[in-house]
């Protein structure tokens, strides 16, 4: 309470009276790691178990399995459906509790789930999806025995071909508790708050309309727990999000949906979205059926009418015009940090330096392969460069211009795992923005139907009143908190291997990386 009052007193000197009057007490969320089991009856598993009619229901398999895969309830004649997602498959063969070999009737058979072929894609493989679910459930890394390859996808390029060159022994032994994963977002030393986040990532912008209010709330509550941020996207705020204002980023995008003086004043960071990776060079899309009465009310639009934001800002033709925008926000919200979100054209490095000169605190580059919402396929695949190239290019150019240490470089667009986060930082980013990972934590299977009809059939990227009832805020929050915890563990393990005490030491350390398509005969930093 004292901390809250202190914070409120600080704000009195900064925020206008009308904003202070409308400010609601901020709510904290515990960073507690708890089991958040899958919300579907049959979790998709790596292995499937077949029980033949030869089974005599002796219950031996139940007794020996330490993972609790087989379930025979007391006084029940038949086995329950096995909890296949807990089964570690062939890795169990080496142990003395392998149910298949223990069963005297030879009634059990375990095979890799043939359904996995239908799950995932080159970028988000079924292994990455299953491992992300596992991390979201437990808050921990999946046991090696599960055999998930979740470090890389199968896209055959970018992060999927980059590896860390781990030393055989860490240069210095460090306790994991000593490792600091926080980063500072304001490096300009301009009198505005420095704003520290405890993990080097924050949640990507997903508007109310593109996703449900449950999804938005789960995201921001997890961000609150981890002392980081979530972004409003281009669509305004629900009242229910006000208790988390201190962990929200208000996005000012080209359609200006939900942009009001009040929404700019109440948050610590305001993001100008010039472009986005999923559809670089095109404005935001919200297709008609997702523009429900609730969405239309917040966006002050007409129900069921598709909302296509223009591209780019019609008031910006130059960096000077961009500066005018930033000045406007700085004037309205004296405590706000400013972020500029751009896509990755050839001249992304020039755009980054231009944004710096215009006064931005954070340059957020969004690579072509990311995105969570509706986008034309032609744009997703073909326009703008992948983020892996853009990070290196921008980092290098900012260094050459002598401003690298005065600006925070945030990367997004295809960051899927804790390993991707570490690789992005080693390539030169200070931190990253994650989006799809959070949705996968909530049960997304990447069926790509977010945009069609009533929206996501799994109740995540939808505003349909029936579909959104599939999950609740507490569960969603816990899943994302857990995922963040597992990602942090991955990051800490990597830093520990290199003997680093802070994630900031990893920034730009390309000498610690190798690319499988190169001879790696150049040592650079």
């Amino acid at each position: 309470m004292d901390q809250y009052l202190e914070q409120e007193n600080e704000l009195k000197g900064l925020l206008p009276e009308n904003t202070l009057k409308t400010r609601v007490p901020q709510v904290g969320v515990d960073r507690k790691i708890e089991n958040a089991p899958p919300r579907y009856r049959n979790e998709i598993s790596k292995y499937v178990i077949f029980r033949s009619d030869d089974c005599v229901r002796c219950g031996k398999c139940v007794d020996v399995c330490p993972h609790g895969v087989h379930v025979l309830k007391q006084d029940y004649k038949y086995f329950c459906t096995p909890k296949e997602h807990l089964c570690i498959g062939p890795a169990c063969e080496k142990t003395d509790h392998y149910c298949v070999s223990i069963c005297k009737q030879n009634a059990l058979r375990i095979i890799e789930n043939p359904m996995l072929k239908s799950l995932g894609d080159y970028r988000w493989t079924s292994d990455i999806i299953l491992a992300t679910w596992k991390m979201s459930e437990t808050g921990d890394l999946p046991e090696d025995d599960f055999g998930f390859n979740y470090e890389c996808g199968e896209s055959e390029g970018g992060f999927d071909r980059i590896r860390f060159k781990f030393p055989e022994n860490p240069p210095t032994q460090i306790n994991e508790d000593e490792i600091d994963t926080s980063i500072i977002l304001n490096r300009r030393n301009d009198g505005r708050p420095s704003v520290k986040i405890d993990v080097p990532w924050y949640g990507g912008g997903m508007s109310f309309g593109s996703v449900s209010n449950v999804t938005q709330l789960s995201k921001v509550r997890a961000a609150t727990a981890w002392n980081t941020f979530s972004c409003s996207g281009e669509g305004g705020y629900m009242e229910r999000m006000r208790p988390y204002d201190d962990h929200m980023i208000t996005q000012v995008a080209t359609g200006l949906f939900g942009v009001r003086e009040e929404t700019i004043q109440r948050v610590p960071i305001v993001e100008f979205k010039y472009a986005q990776g999923a559809k670089p060079g095109l404005g935001g899309h919200l297709l008609g059926p997702k523009n429900t009465p609730a969405v239309a009310k917040i966006r002050e639009a007409v129900v069921n009418i598709p909302l296509f934001s223009p591209f780019p800002f019609h008031s910006v033709y130059s960096i000077e015009d961009h500066m005018k925008h930033l000045d406007w926000i700085k004037h309205i919200n004296p405590r706000a940090l400013l972020s500029t979100k751009v896509s990755t054209p050839t001249d992304v490095d020039m755009v980054a330096v231009g944004s710096y000169s215009a006064g931005t605190h954070i340059v957020h580059i969004d690579g072509g392969y990311g995105g969570t919402g509706a986008a034309p396929d032609i744009a997703k695949k073909n326009i703008a460069m992948p983020i892996e190239y853009a990070i290196l290019k921008v980092h290098k150019f900012l260094k050459e211009e002598g401003v690298r240490d005065k600006i925070t470089l945030i990367a997004s667009g295809g960051i899927r795992t804790g390993h991707d986060i570490a690789k992005a930082i080693a390539l030169g980013a200070d931190g990253v923005v994650v989006g799809t990972g959070e949705l996968v934590a909530l049960g997304c299977v990447r069926c790509s139907r977010c945009e069609s009809g009533r929206g996501c059939p799994r109740g995540i990227a939808t505003t349909d009143s029936e579909l959104i009832t599939q999950m609740n805020v507490q569960w969603g929050t816990q899943r994302i908190i857990n995922l963040y915890n597992a990602w942090r563990k991955i990051l800490v393990n990597i830093l520990k291997s290199f003997g680093m005490k802070s994630v900031t030491e990893l920034c730009g350390r390309t000498d610690l990386l190798m690319h499988l398509d190169f001879n790696n005969d150049k040592c650079s930093n």
């Binding site: 579907y40 009856r41 049959n42 979790e43 459906t81 043939p114 359904m115 894609d121 080159y122 970028r123 199968e154 896209s155 055959e156 390029g157 999923a278 670089p280 060079g281 095109l282 404005g283 297709l287 296509f308 223009p310 591209f311 780019p312 910006v316 130059s318 960096i319 054209p345 995105g371 969570t372 986008a375 396929d377 032609i378 744009a379 997703k380 695949k381 073909n382 326009i383 703008a384 992948p386 290196l392 290019k393 290098k396 295809g414 949705l439 990447r446 069926c447 790509s448 139907r449 945009e451 996501c456 059939p457 799994r458 390309t510 990386l513 690319h515 398509d517 190169f518 001879n519 650079s524």
Partner: protein, 473 residues
């Protein structure tokens, strides 16, 4: 400025059951027949549709594979009886180049005439062969156009066919030379001749009608004259001829002069006598533009230069239908060959004196934009229009087997509607890409490689600076 180009479209549903990607396998013998069956809860109502489909079947041709792959029923079924599977028929579609994804998206575009939109980011490989090894650029802030297809500003997709003079010469205050003939089409796309496998009765009628209503050009083999027109088209022949470019097949009887005179473009095959033939046509029909069809093989670069030097005004360079160089064991891809030709013509100072049409491997709207960036003025294609008619590229026709797409039964209005819709969707996508680049005219996109990023270049320039030398495959 010409009128804003717009193709009026209406949805044209498929004739046949869709070959979808996903389907559900149902182990119904263990079904508990519970009251909360997940089948009733399918967001897409696919189970009811499947039942209707099966009820109405006379014979089993295709299984019902229209599942959207959301796994909801699979994960919620009380007894866990449902499994999601990929349709093996879907996986068998096309070949290594014309992938099932390309075929399916073409079907959707031909049905809806809209730009394919999906969620959840990009799902494919980082890069790939051919056109997949380049990305188009976008303009962040400083740009002459805005808004793409949804905006009020006009992005022109018109292109010229014919020679541009490098300079004007005057004598006695009059132009020294007659301005060479030139015309424009509203989209940098020409409908190429049909492959010989595709020879069903209505095909040419449909293509000619499509070219007419979209105001494009279709190349028609003269051997098919006059059967290429159906009776109502023959009665209004003058309406159709401007959108027909006859390929003057040496084995075919001559096209009547009064017909040729009413066309704007004619194509002749490359041969040793091609320049003589070219001159003969020009002498007879001074306003007719003559295109020479050249195969993209190892000699094409030299040949295109020779023909341009000799005054040929349009060259149609054609790779095989996968976009590969012809007759080579290790073929180059069309984009690389077109780049070489374009650069060679620039170096010789002749680029504007010839219109370069690139054909072969143009499978998607993005290929049109990318081929133009690599140096083509116009692209030609044919297979996507066959896909629009629900062709599966199964090659049964090559073996004279039964066509699963029943192309022989294609109705005229259906065929025209599907092809028109596909062309309209390509037009919209071209505008999307150009809008992202901040360009307002496709003519200015030609050869503008600054508007593209090439995988090889980015790997060398950016990753090479930190990872050293690149291993070559």
């Amino acid at each position: 400025m010409p009128d804003k180009y717009h193709i009026k479209t209406t949805p044209v549903p498929p004739r046949l059951q869709r070959v979808g990607k996903f389907g559900i396998v149902d182990w119904r013998e263990d079904c508990a027949r519970c009251h909360n069956c997940v089948k009733k809860a399918c967001v897409y109502d696919r189970y009811r549709q499947e039942t209707e489909y099966i009820k109405n079947l006379d014979e089993v041709n295709t299984l019902f594979f229209e599942c959207m792959g959301c796994f909801s029923c699979v994960q919620n079924c009380t007894k866990g009886l449902l499994c999601l599977t990929i349709n093996s028929e879907y996986e068998r579609l096309g070949n290594h180049y014309w992938t099932p994804e390309i075929i399916q998206t073409t079907w959707t575009q031909a049905e809806t005439a809209s730009v394919p939109v999906s969620g959840a980011g990009y799902r494919g490989k980082f890069s790939g062969a051919g056109f997949d090894s380049m990305w188009t650029d976008m303009s962040e802030i400083v740009r002459p156009t805005r808004d793409g297809i949804h905006g009020r500003e006009y992005i022109s997709t018109y292109v010229d066919i014919g020679k541009n003079l490098s300079f004007l010469s005057f004598e006695d205050k009059k132009k020294k030379y007659k301005t060479p003939p030139q015309f424009f089409i509203p989209l940098p796309l020409i409908i190429d001749m049909s492959l010989k496998e595709f020879s069903f009765p209505n095909l040419e009628h449909i293509i000619i009608e499509t070219a007419h209503i979209t105001d494009l050009i279709s190349i028609i083999d003269s051997i098919k004259w006059p059967d290429c027109l159906e009776s109502s088209q023959k009665n209004n022949i003058e309406k159709y001829l401007p959108n027909i470019a006859f390929y003057l097949n040496p084995d075919a009887p001559e096209i009547p002069a009064e017909m040729l005179n009413k066309t704007r473009l004619v194509e002749i095959p490359d041969s040793e006598e091609v320049l003589i033939q070219f001159q003969e046509i020009k002498n007879k029909f001074s306003n007719l533009i003559v295109s020479v069809r050249v195969e993209l093989d190892k000699n094409c670069l030299k040949r295109v230069q020779e023909l341009t030097d000799a005054g040929v005004e349009v060259i149609h360079a054609v790779a095989d239908y996968n976009g590969d160089e012809k007759r080579e064991e290790k073929p180059r891809f069309i984009k690389d060959m077109i780049r070489d030709i374009h650069i060679s013509l620039i170096k010789s100072g002749k680029r504007d004196e010839v219109t370069l049409i690139a054909g072969g491997g143009i499978a998607l709207a993005e290929h049109m934009a990318k081929a133009i960036i690599c140096g083509a003025d116009i692209v030609s294609t044919h297979l996507p229009l066959m896909l629009a008619l629900e062709c599966r590229l199964c090659s049964n026709c090559k073996a004279n087997s039964i066509c699963p797409a029943e192309l022989d039964n294609v109705e005229f209005n259906y065929g025209v509607g599907r092809m028109r819709n596909l062309i309209a969707a390509w037009h919209l996508q071209l505008i999307e890409v150009m809008g992202a680049m901040g360009m307002r005219e496709v003519r200015r996109l030609r050869g503008d490689v600054g508007r593209a990023m090439f995988y090889e270049d980015l790997e060398e320039e950016i990753f090479g600076s930190v990872f050293g030398t690149r291993k070559r495959a």
